[in-house]
Symmetry: C2
Subunit: 337 residues, 2 copies
């Protein structure tokens, strides 16, 4: 009953945007289970910007991946066989399982997913790291107050779409920056953001922001960096907070881009910019998940998923996401429950 | 007994570095005193970078100065005549008195200086806003811990020289960045900083910083901005703190300079940059002054003053300070006690 496992590994380090040829499809046999381990079959794989950093040999938040190593990633899976008394065949679990059809994980690396709470794919979205990043990043570092203006870049992305909605729940005026007219309509008409800017269509980003943020910006939740951040940051208000959660516009550059210096603005406004990493809040994940699940049940949080099919589709879906082509949280479905 | 008052006023708004011709020497009669006011004769005038911002018509922390208005500035003065029961002729006081030989101020705008505590000019330095900026900026926003690496730019300036010494008192490894070999020697040999870099002489700023900060930078106290800050910030450690107190390299630019974008570094390190304005801590000034005075008495804080003579010398001394030519806290002595 040994299965062949198909995995996507790092074929070569990308320079600039990854290419399909930077990935390899590898076949391997599954190792046998030690006590405390479980064999799981992947259902949904999450694709996230941080993975690009792991493909480089420096400047990542984490150690660089070795050539030939399985691409890292969170996934929802079903237990096929368990040598851990805490998990049984058929249990739905979530963990850092990588880009592969099967994985062997220690029970301590798995978290049980409750299929009755919400569709299981949300364990990688609203109720997973993107949701928790939006929740803790916005509320802890951004600390938005009623009536304040919150700007979120990458507003239609996995994290951004939740940031905008949570800021609305908190009574803020929310301005999103997104990359297509379809995203603008969805964010404004369906998610209820107060205003959304299509940065790709804006002739004058500065003027557009002046229009949409007539009293400046109190909280900026940044998922993208680059020219959008330049324009938003130079409108930051007194004691404004900039949450640096992602810099996807910069992740694929071979050398740091130049941009206007804005430390003087930070100084004059006594504003703050702070780098955010969701795992710093790991101890409070249960609290965050509980609140996010409650909002989801109450219909206060909506989400959109972009689901590619089959492990072979993962590299292209990943590249598309880095270029902003996804419509909502990017997932890959590897098998059915 | 009416005296003629000589004042330096704003003649024209500078573009780039101020020129002598941007200032005017004006003569005026002194107004008569209302109840609660005092006539004071200026002894020492403080020259500070923020004054450059006030000369522009935008982008200052405060309202722009009008053409013809007296240049603003803190000063130590002696009371000539008082209609405020709290002050008597001969009292030494401190306040925002402006660039002028005499001033009329309400008693509530004056703070008594104790001539027995320290030389009265220190009310504009160690025991004044520069000292308080170093104290609260470093300890509150920088929050340095024992053994951490603290880098201070503008290390020989009025604020910087105190930041370095307070960081040493707090048990940190302190690296200064200064602008001449003489400053380097003074900071290292007399103030006890662990290492000091002359940025003007450094062939490779990045390599020099790697040498001097082999384990990165935990706290960066920034007085200058520009290329020095670029180099320091890209060495900031995990959970590092950047205190943005001054940006003197940027203050005289007509348009924002370009520099490498470093938000990714902030993000990856979960580091923080925050703008600092000393007046935010006004309620705690007595506490700060008490500690600074105690350190001064214990010989733990040393300082240097650069004293120009006569009100006519103020514009040139101010321009020189903006260019980094001063040796320590820049003052102008307008009269003797």
């Amino acid at each position: 009953m040994v299965r062949v496992n198909r995995q996507i590994t790092l074929g070569s380090r990308p320079s600039g945007f990854p290419k399909i040829s930077d990935f390899q499809l590898a076949y391997s046999a599954l190792p046998s289970l030690a006590a405390g381990e479980a064999l799981v079959r992947t259902l949904y794989l999450s694709l996230d910007p941080y993975m690009r950093g792991r493909m480089s040999d420096a400047d990542s938040r984490d150690r660089p991946l070795a050539i030939g190593e399985v691409m890292p990633g969170g996934a929802v899976a079903v237990v096929v066989h368990s040598e851990d008394s805490g998990f049984r065949t058929g249990d739905v679990v979530e963990g850092m399982l990588g880009w592969q059809e099967y994985a062997v994980a220690h029970g301590s690396e798995l978290r049980r997913v409750d299929p009755d709470l919400a569709p299981i794919s949300t364990a990688l979205g609203v109720l997973g790291l993107p949701g928790l990043a939006a929740y803790f990043g916005l509320l802890e570092l951004g600390a938005p107050r009623d009536g304040e203006t919150v700007v979120v870049s990458g507003a239609a992305g996995a994290v951004g779409m939740l940031v905008g909605q949570i800021a609305k729940i908190r009574g803020c005026r929310v301005v999103g920056v997104a990359g297509s007219d379809a995203e603008v309509s969805w964010l404004r008409d369906e998610l209820g953001l107060d205003a959304v800017l299509n940065y790709r269509a804006a002739v004058d980003l500065e003027a557009a922001l002046d229009d949409l943020c007539p009293v400046g910006v109190d909280v900026y939740f940044d998922n993208v960096g680059g020219v959008i951040s330049d324009a938003v940051i130079c409108r930051i208000n007194r004691r404004g907070r900039i949450v640096v959660c992602g810099q996807i516009s910069q992740d694929n550059l071979e050398a740091p881009e130049l941009g206007p210096r804005w430390l003087s603005r930070l100084m004059m406004q006594q504003a703050r910019a702070e780098g955010f990493l969701v795992s710093e809040y790991a101890e409070r994940f249960p609290e965050g998940r509980e609140q996010l699940a409650a909002w989801l049940k109450q219909g206060k949080l909506r989400y959109r998923e972009d689901i590619a099919q089959g492990i072979e589709a993962a590299p292209q879906a990943f590249i598309g996401m880095l270029q902003g082509n996804n419509q909502g949280k990017q997932l890959v479905q590897l098998s059915g429950l």
